[in-house]
Structure formats: structure tokens, C-alpha cells
Symmetry: C2
Subunit: 152 residues, 2 copies
């Protein structure tokens, strides 16, 4: 494998490759990932205009080895949009090349281009590898806040 990779905006053609990686992420997070119906919906969603989310992918030797899915958030306190990073995953065989770091840098760039106030995301507390990267980037840990969710 080459250590070279390219980063680009995902297209609808990348949906299947992203779902494969998303299932590895779900396995790593010990959570239920996308089933086949969700995989089909995701492909449809990426092809819609406007799409309900956007994605970046990293390619190495012609294969998609990493992805980030994100969508626009909004802060009333700042009255600015933001970027909410929903997923970021690098295939184990493509680790230690700086791909996750490069994707976060790209999202920061994109957020600045779009007049965003913030890039935000959540991480599982035991995911020490990811947390090391976020701390290295001087991201602010939001320990004062806790999430709530109602499944519909």
C-alpha cells in the first residue's frame, strides 16, 4: 500500500464504500450500524439535492479508506451556521497516515469558507485514540454538557 492518499468530497457513487466503513465504525463503537434498508436509503440520500448530509472520503490506491459525514448546524448565540461532524472513520489498514487529522483540517477550512462559528462532534468516552487527536488539535471538551435523545 502506498502512503499517499487523496481527500475529496464524496459523491453518490461513494455511498456503498462509505456504508462498508460505517459498519466497521459501528462494530468498533459496539452499536448497531446501518442494515441493508439503511444502506439503500443512504445511497438515495447522498444523491438528493440538497442532500441531508455531506461527506468527505480519502482514497488510497483507488480505494475509499476513510470517510467523514457532516451536516450544517446552527448556533443562535452566535447566529452563525456550524459544521456538525456525525462520523469520522479511517480503515485500520490506513491508520497513522494523518488522514483523520487532514479530514478535520479540511472541515475547519470548509467551515471558515462558509462563515461557520464552530466545528462540533461527539466521541465515546473510552475512545482514547480519537480523544488524543482531538486534544492535540486543541478542541474544547464539552464536559459541562450531556446529550439527551428521544428515538422516534
Amino acid at each position: 500500500m502506498s502512503a499517499l492518499y487523496t481527500l475529496r468530497a464524496a459523491t453518490a457513487n461513494d455511498a456503498a464504500a462509505i456504508v462498508l466503513l460505517c459498519r466497521l465504525l459501528a462494530e468498533f463503537e459496539r452499536l448497531p450500524g446501518p442494515d441493508d434498508a439503511a444502506a439503500a436509503r443512504f445511497a438515495d440520500d447522498l444523491a438528493r439535492s440538497p442532500a441531508p448530509c455531506e461527506a468527505l472520503v480519502a482514497e488510497q490506491d483507488g480505494a475509499v479508506v476513510a470517510y467523514a459525514v457532516f451536516f450544517a448546524s446552527y448556533s443562535t448565540f452566535r447566529a452563525r451556521p456550524g459544521i456538525y461532524l456525525e462520523d469520522l472513520f479511517v480503515h485500520p489498514r490506513a491508520r497513522r497516515l494523518g488522514i483523520a487529522h487532514a479530514m478535520l483540517d479540511r472541515l475547519v477550512e470548509l467551515g471558515r469558507e462558509r462563515g461557520c462559528a464552530r466545528l462540533e462532534w461527539q466521541v465515546l468516552r473510552w475512545n482514547e485514540g480519537a480523544i488524543r487527536l482531538y486534544e492535540h488539535l486543541s478542541a474544547h471538551r464539552q464536559d459541562d454538557w450531556v446529550g439527551y435523545r428521544l428515538d422516534l
Copy 2:
């Protein structure tokens, strides 16, 4: 004051009333709320189509006494949109009428109409009043997760 209130989708005309309540929310949360430039941007943003966020307001005796601001999120694991509730605030003089509960119910309805997987939000850990309501609604507390933020 009447105990009756009405809940409705906000329009651009509600922007100033929402900003006033948003500043009370920020004060309560001990965080910097919208300054005058943000207030002007928020009014512009609510008037845009598509707007970067949506809002509900509660009116009592012709005055806006509560608001909720939300935007569309996206779950790759479910391949469904969601509703992310950014702010929910009820003016102190309109408390104990069930307005916050009614707004959450309305957002659940709206999420179901839109095929959403989830309604999600965050709360400050010391905000016990709000947390009591969320627990009463059987919302799931996301203690396994912690947020990170990069200011742009």
C-alpha cells in the same frame, strides 16, 4: 396573565422576540448570548429560504413567552434525518404551564412527520429543572458520549 398559550411555527417577524428570550437563556446558562450583530444576522437567517434553522414559539396574551430553535441532523447508522434542538427556553413568568413539554411533544410529532430517527439535544449538567423534564419524558441520557468543539 392567562394560563392559555398557543404554539406555532416562528416567522421572520418573531426574530426580535426570540433574541430577547435567547439572551435570557444565555444569562441563565452563564454564557455569552447574541450581541447586536448576531441579533441582526439571526433576523436575516430566519427570513432566508431555506433558513439555516427553524423555530417554534409560544404566545401568551399576544406576547412570545417561549421559543425552541432546531435544525435537521442526520444519522448514518439509521440513514434517516433527525431533529437537533439547539435551544429551548420559557420566560420565567410563563413557567409551570407545560410549555416546554408541549414544545418537545410538537417536535416529536414534527420529527415523525418528517421520517426522522431521533430528536436530540444537549443540556448543562447542573440544569436540574430541565433534566427532570427530560427524564420524565423517558429521553435517553447519553452519558457515554462527550462533545468536542473547535471555534472557527
